[in-house]
Amino acid sequence: MSALHQPSEALSRRERIVLNLYAITGLAVLVLMMLGGIAMRMSQGTWIELPPDVFYQLMTAHGAAMVGIAGLTSSAVMWYFLRKYVSLSPGIFLANYVLFMIGAVLILGSIFVLKFGGGWTFLYPLPVKSNGMWSVHAAAGYMLGLVSIGVGFLLFYLDATLAILRVYGNLGRALGLQWLFGGDIDKSHPATVVASTMVIIANGLGTLCGAVVLVLCLVNAYVPAFELNALLAKNMIYFFGHVFINASIYMGVIAVYELLPRYSGRPWGVSRPFLWAWAASTIMVLIVYPHHLLMDFVMPPWMLVMGQIISYTSGLPVLAVTAYGALTNVHRSGMRWSMPAKLLMLSMFGWAAGVIPAIIDGVIRVNSVMHNTLWVPGHFHFYLILGLWPMLFGFMYHVIRARADEPDSAFDRLGFPAYLVGGLIFAGMLLMAGQASVARRWAVHLPEWVPYAPAASLAAILVVLATVVFAVRIVSGLPKAPNVGTAH
């Protein structure tokens, strides 16, 4: 059993400040954007009245900020653990944060000052064809903001790539490909290095693709004669968007591999199925994105078939390796169920269960009656609220804890079930509305759609209250967080 805090995880004062910046920013943006989400759902339920332009601006901010902050906070998890095995630059880690904040200012200014409301996915050519509702400068500001955030991530991935190459020689060895077909696996090969390598390959390509399409859209904004192929732009945008949000989960799950064993008292080393799962996921996360384009019938049929089949196979590593591995690790382990352990285990349930409606929606016949209904936000809210964020909360709770058996406070004991129940009901109500054909991204709902919103709004309030509890506990604990060992 490893110690709760390992000497190699010690932080210098500067590193701790930057890590705290990531954590505090992540929690603050999360809470604010949850409140924005509640306002939208309450407006759909006619409890409050948001003018449609305000609703769509809020929707744009909610999407961009939630995806961005999920990526940023997850990258802190990857940085925290990966630096134990390779030498990462704290300066680059800080640069990622600074570029993110510059991007956030540009995005929020474009939305709330210049009235951009083109949706976070900036689906070409909507940003520059608003029918007079916002200016081309508003769209450009928004897209420049995304470029700034993307550059920050690319710098971070480049730094991680160079650091991994220095230690492991090439990315294949870091992924453990040399052990796929035989040989004695080095059990000490870190799962964190495997997952991080997958992320830098996949999201390096994903973010680069996003940057390219953003730059092309920016050129089009000011030189309209430079037109893009709408289908190609859509492919590039969804490739980027899909890979980016999935990479956030793959960065977040590093916390589970690293920390769950410290609470169960059992090791969780790499194995051949584990290495196969990550190698396959590296490929699958890159080629599955056509499942976002199943209703674009002019797409080559083989790509749509690939989108359906890979959607299914992508779930196998999640269900049969990571979630199953976590269950095996915890089963009859004498588990110490403090907040980090509870949250990390919840994240495994949320991820595994949340992929179910996603996989089913990847079937073309299903997609034709579910695509762009609330079924879609139903499944991604499921695995973001109950999967990704519990990984990140679990990590943050761990950082502020001195002992594995440290008792939870009364607030924590109330907050955890409130978050779980609220998250289940909120995501469940979105799914239920989706199966009733309620369209997504509608500011004003048809009368027959309205009854799905109130229960979801109440559940969302429960989620945000629990999140505030977590945030207050974590932020107040950060200055007193233990720092074992000597900082390098």
């Binding site: 169960s264 269960a353 073309i364 239920m432 369209a439 509608w442 500011a443």
Partner: protein, 180 residues
């Protein structure tokens, strides 16, 4: 049972099974046992679990793809009534708005400004078919209505600040007696 109901039920059952697995493990996590024994048993079960998932995937892929669900985009559908559809911010233009149940309709869907989503809702408010409307491309959607009544077309791809008002209607008459 509609596709939506089937999907909803399958999802609930699968999520419930996963929840039960987690609750079972959480309930049995207190009493410590030798890890090697637990691993050996768990990995034995996992082998079956993995191959069961593979079998399920192969079966599902065959059942849902053997007859490709998307019509041939290069050739018109034989015997179908052709309707041109154009999506514009923020209204639909349909070249016809009266159809007959039992007669296939081929919607040739495009857009002349931004992406839209051509979603057809039946008289019960249930989404029965959709396709993207995209500038520069024409998607062919073939659908045979089975129920008479008033249908609505809703935009299912976010297209700007009046997206939610992009609605139109058409009528489907009952099938002619004695065949299509």
């Amino acid at each position: 049972m509609t596709t939506q109901s089937l999907v909803w039920n399958i999802s609930l059952i699968a999520i419930a099974i996963i929840a039960v697995a987690f609750l079972y493990v959480a309930a049995r996590s207190g009493a410590a046992a030798q890890y090697e024994g637990v691993q050996k048993k768990a990995y034995g079960i996992r082998r079956w679990f993995f191959w069961a998932l593979v079998l399920l995937g192969v079966g599902t892929a065959y059942a849902t793809l053997a007859e490709f669900p998307i019509p041939d985009q290069r050739a018109p559908s034989a015997g179908a009534r052709v309707v041109d559809v154009v999506g514009k911010q923020w209204y639909w233009e349909l070249s016809a708005n009266q159809f007959t149940a039992g007669v296939p309709v081929e919607f040739r869907v495009t857009a002349n400004d931004v992406n839209h989503g051509f979603g057809i809702y039946d008289p019960n408010g249930r989404l029965v078919a959709q396709v993207q409307a995209m500038p520069g491309f024409t998607n062919r959607l073939v659908h045979t209505f089975t129920e008479a009544g008033k249908y609505r077309v809703l935009c299912l791809e976010y297209c700007g600040l009046v997206h939610h008002n992009m609605i139109t209607e058409f009528e489907v008459a009952a099938a002619r007696q004695g065949g299509k």
